[in-house]
């Protein structure tokens, strides 16, 4: 059996040697520009490197398009799938609609390991440390106190032959601040760097002058062809940024590439086999011809994305026609007449989370999940990770929909251990049509040891976003799409069937105050006692060292002095 496998591998290797192009990998780059309902503009960059080689066998050590640092990481630590997202800001689902690629505020890392990995925890620790070095992020703070093993929420996105959740690790660092130092190494992983292609638009000072910025790296094995006998490896680097057009462009909703990025596109990355810009020009409110894009797109693409029929203007940077007229491409969008933004179509699934209660002893975490679908009910998987210093009272867990109690069909709860691991709560909740479901649970705040407080303890402690995963029923029937053919923004999550689409939402992270001692107290005590001791010591020292002289007698007693005072008042010379 083993020998046969080896022969197969050898044969494959020989086949690859003849076909140079296949081993080199394929790079596709794509930019999706999406005007959001409130007038902001979302730009989603995706760079996808597909490598037709098996990283896992360890024999591969010659890298071409695939970055060596990540390839070695995957090969050396038996990683099956890796997803890292670094996000600054919060995606406002209610006003912006479903996120193209959801991510929680801060840093999120989840990885599936091979079943041949002997110690998954050790491999996880090493992987997070190495990634922390590669991306200059504080992922090295991922340890057992913020790592959980979800049982149902995170399924592998690539090919897989088993979903034993013991091989999965998931961690979120809600406090992580994302900035230029994270963007630069991310750009360095691109084959063209930021020298050519769509990546020239990634100018840090514009990207971080925005309401939302999220960059991610997804590595997964995918099927090499339709028969799926061999795997290829896919590296997908994505970057989502939302520009607040109202504040930056004087209240007008018109935008252009130059206004957003202060650069224009001049060429495609010469290594890319596909380089496209998509602009969402879907007609809203059934009124067509409301907006106008210039220059004329090379083609128009229609697709059903997230249960909605969308029309995209496509600019193919590899098409020679595009750069014939002008040397650079500056996509512009103009609204023909001012659009009233009152009609906001709320997304089918959205959620809020908040913490309530008063005092520093107890509190309550509430999550509100809305299903705005007019007639379809659907289940949603909720994943809550709460740090150990908030002690959850599980008996207070209540789920109420339309005034009635809603019993979850699946509950997985792992209690926290102090300083060891966080609480993990996973529930499958059925959301009736057109309803809001409130999930609340009470907690008690723990007292920390004084060394466990961060440098600014009065800022509060973050509780990471809860994760909602759901198959949302689609209004329009969807076709099964071929991953290699369809645009990248539609192909990260596999669609299960034609009637529903997968959505992963992240709620707001929470900020909770813990009882915080007065950290200056020990120093105050030291100062006070030291002063008291010093004063006592000083007077004692004086007593011991001073020499005392006996005052000369003869100046008279009290009677004589009094008499002198009286004589001075009378103006008579003293005695």
């Amino acid at each position: 059996m083993l020998a046969a496998g080896l022969v197969l591998v050898l044969a494959l290797a020989a086949g690859q040697g003849q076909e140079q192009g296949a081993v080199r990998g394929v790079l596709r780059e794509e930019l999706l520009l999406q005007p959001l309902p409130v007038g902001d503009v979302a730009a989603v960059f995706q760079f996808r490197t597909r490598w037709d080689a098996d990283l896992q066998r360890g024999a591969v050590s010659h890298y071409r398009l695939f970055p060596k640092a990540l390839g070695q990481l995957v090969a050396a630590h038996g990683v099956r799938e890796l997803h890292l997202a670094l996000t600054q800001g919060f995606w406002r689902t209610q006003s912006w609609g479903q996120p193209p690629l959801g991510a929680p505020a801060g840093a999120e890392l989840w990885a599936w390991f091979q079943d041949s990995v002997p110690d998954v925890d050790k491999a996880w620790k090493e992987v997070s440390n190495i990634l922390s070095g590669i991306f200059c992020a504080s992922l090295n703070f991922i340890d057992s106190t913020n790592t959980v093993i979800p049982t149902a929420s995170f399924k592998p996105l690539g090919t897989t032959n088993g979903t034993d959740h013991r091989l999965l690790r998931y961690a979120v660092l809600p406090r992580e601040v994302v900035c230029t130092e994270n963007l630069t190494p991310w750009k360095k992983l691109l084959p063209c760097g930021s020298k050519a292609g769509l990546a020239v638009l990634l100018k840090a000072e514009r990207l971080f002058h925005s309401s939302y910025h999220s960059q991610a790296v997804h590595i997964r094995p995918i099927c090499r062809d339709a028969s799926c006998l061999t795997v290829s490896w896919e590296l997908r680097q994505t970057l989502t940024v939302v520009f607040d057009s109202f504040t930056s462009i004087q209240g007008k909703k018109d935008w252009s590439l130059f206004k957003m990025f202060s650069r224009t596109l001049t060429d495609a990355c010469p290594l890319a086999s596909e380089s496209k810009v998509y602009v969402d020009i879907s007609p809203k409110n059934k009124e067509k011809e409301l907006l106008e894009v210039t220059p004329t797109p090379t083609s128009v693409h229609e697709a059903i994305v997230q249960g909605d029929k969308r029309t995209y203007a496509v600019y193919d940077l590899l098409s020679p026609l595009l750069f014939n007229a002008s040397r650079s491409l500056n996509v512009q969008l103009k609204w023909k007449r001012p659009q009233d933004s009152s009609e906001l179509s709320t997304p089918v699934l959205h959620a809020q989370r908040y913490v309530s209660g008063y005092g520093l002893q107890t509190g309550e975490i509430s999550t509100l999940i809305h299903n705005t679908h007019p007639y379809r009910a659907f289940p949603v998987l909720l994943l809550e990770t709460v740090p150990w210093y908030l002690r959850l009272y599980v008996h207070t867990l209540t789920i109420i929909t339309k005034g009635k109690e809603n019993k979850p069909s699946y509950i997985h709860y792992e209690p926290a251990q102090d300083r060891q691991r966080p609480h993990l709560l996973e529930m499958l909740i059925q959301l009736p049509a057109n309803s809001a479901t409130k999930i609340s649970i009470q907690f008690e705040r723990a007292l920390l040891k004084w060394t466990e407080y961060p440098p600014d303890p009065n800022h509060g402690f973050y509780v990471s976003s809860s994760v909602l995963s759901a198959l949302v029923p689609s209004v329009i029937a969807m076709k099964d799409v071929d991953v290699e053919e369809s645009p990248l923004f539609a192909s990260l999550f596999p669609s299960s069937d034609g009637s529903s689409y997968f959505v992963r939402l992240y709620t707001e992270p929470l900020l909770v105050n813990l009882p915080t001692p007065d950290f200056s107290m020990p120093y105050n005590v030291i100062c006070l006692t030291c002063t008291v001791v010093a004063v006592c010591y000083g007077s004692f020292y004086n007593l011991l060292t001073r020499t005392f002289h006996v005052e000369e007698p003869g100046r008279g007693g009290l009677a004589k002095r009094l008499a002198n005072v009286i004589r001075r008042i009378r103006g008579v010379p003293p005695l």
Binding site: Q20, H62, L65, K68, A69, K188, K195, L271, G538, Y541
Partner: protein
């Protein structure tokens, strides 16, 4: 600081040749004799067999007195009595094992700068493993579509030499292609040859911007040897390196000690200027690997330059490394390892002296004991001339001593320094010092007054 001393002792045994050796020596050329003798030798590392052939022997070509074979043997022409022969043998042994200068080079980190020439510092430090990374830099993918068969080249040319070196250290080889990676220096245009020139004095500035792109290895902590193949941009080709005298360097390559090497690979301009871009280029790996292997040997300090002219050294052939050269490396690395262990343990002892309340756990202590035992073992084996076991013991000593030294429990920041304790008690000490100083001042004032008063009396 402890003063290190190295004593070299050679054990020379003379014997007559056996019948089979005699037969082997009867071969037509020295190379054939060497191959035939290899089968008859005891080939433990560190031992050498020297065959003394008569003065008039035709085995050695005219003008050469010494022939060094591919393995652990050499042929020496007998000339002018035993004393000359003895001197020659001593010279040969130093070439084939170690000499004072090779020992000094191995210990160069511990010898003051002035005593050594610049060349001795180019050797790689001894390590348990090395990573070899070949990088193809293509700064202009729009005009050049460069492809290299690195897998084949590594298997053909690099793997044999690494197999041979596997006793010295673990090696891993990988490669990558970097696009839009440019050198840090803009080359100068030379009108006469209509080519671009990188002069020798600008080479130190070439590496830094490239190094930022190379990336570090995620998988291990071993030192990395970088070999870069640079295909210049179309607007800067052809590009040549000039040495200090202004002459072009034949290999168009240079190496940086302890870091690796860079080779510039010029792409021939297409015959017709209308040729469509990008131009497909298949790198000639034989030419490239020749240079890289020579640089690899240089990085390990295996140069054959300083040999006397009457020495004839057999080329190591496909293996890239002769057996006796491996022995040279082992001698040098064993000594360097022993020196490293002694420095590591000395600095650990110094740390303990500095922070008196540091806690040495049992496992750290046992690592220290193991390191000391292994290093003593290595010294004893070295004195006996058993090179292989000496090297293995020294390697173990390095591992143990480093593990002890880098134990997380020995982080000196974990321990509260004494000067900070003093700072905390400042609120106590300062008010207490005030009356003391006041009374001191008073005493001085009184002392002065009592000195002045007698003069007043006069």
């Amino acid at each position: 600081a402890a003063r290190a001393e190295v004593t070299a002792r050679w054990e020379m045994l003379y014997r007559g040749t056996t019948a089979r050796e005699e037969a082997a020596l009867g071969a037509a050329t020295a190379r054939e004799a060497d191959a035939a003798l290899h089968a008859l030798q005891d080939s433990s590392p560190g031992s050498l067999t020297v065959y003394v052939v008569p003065e008039g022997s035709a085995l050695l070509p005219q003008g050469t007195d010494v022939y060094v074979g591919k393995h652990r043997s050499a042929l020496v022409r007998a000339r002018q009595g035993l004393a000359t022969l003895h001197a020659r043998l001593q010279q040969l042994t130093q070439v084939m094992s170690f000499s004072a200068s090779s020992v000094a080079a191995a210990l160069s980190d511990r010898v003051p700068n002035s005593q050594l020439g610049p060349d001795t510092r180019r050797h790689l430090k001894s390590s348990l493993g090395y990573e070899i990374t070949f990088s193809l830099l293509n700064p202009d993918p729009k005009s050049h579509d460069v492809d290299w068969d690195i897998e084949g080249a590594v298997n053909h040319y690099v793997q044999p030499i690494l197999d041979k070196l596997s006793l010295v250290a673990n090696f891993s080889v990988d490669s990558q292609i970097l696009y839009y990676a440019v050198l840090g220096v803009t080359p100068r245009f030379d009108k006469e040859s209509s080519s671009f020139i990188l002069s020798a004095h600008s080479l130190p500035h070439v590496i830094n911007p490239v190094e930022a792109r190379l990336g570090s290895s995620a998988a291990s902590l071993y030192p990395v040897l970088n070999f870069l193949l640079y295909v210049p941009e179309r607007s800067h080709s052809p590009l040549y390196i000039q040495d200090k005298d202004g002459a072009p360097v034949a290999t168009n390559a240079f190496h940086s000690p302890r870091w690796g090497g860079i080779m510039i690979y010029n792409v021939e301009a297409p015959a017709s200027p209308q040729a469509s871009l990008p131009l497909h280029v298949d790198v000639d790996m034989v030419r490239v690997m020749e240079v890289f292997l020579a640089q690899l040997r240089l990085l390990f300090g295996l140069s054959r330059e300083e040999l006397p002219p009457e020495f004839l050294v057999e080329s190591p052939g496909n293996e890239g490394l002769a057996d006796w050269e491996l022995d040279c490396l082992l001698w040098a690395h064993t000594m360097e390892n022993i020196a490293t262990v002694s420095t590591t343990l000395t600095s650990l002892a110094q740390l303990l002296d500095q922070i008196s309340n540091i806690v040495i756990k049992d496992d750290v202590a046992s690592e220290v004991y193991r390191a000391v035992a292994a290093v003593q073992d290595a010294m004893a084996e070295l004195a006996e001339g058993r090179l292989r076991s000496a090297f293995l013991a020294s390697k173990e000593a390095v591992t143990s001593s480093e593990r002890a030294f880098f134990d997380p429990s020995l982080l000196h920041l974990l321990y509260f320094p004494d000067d900070q304790k003093f700072a905390i008690y400042i609120p106590l000490f300062l008010p207490m010092a005030v009356p003391i100083f006041l009374s001191l001042a008073k005493m001085i004032r009184e002392a002065r007054q009592s000195k002045k008063e007698p003069t007043k009396m006069d």
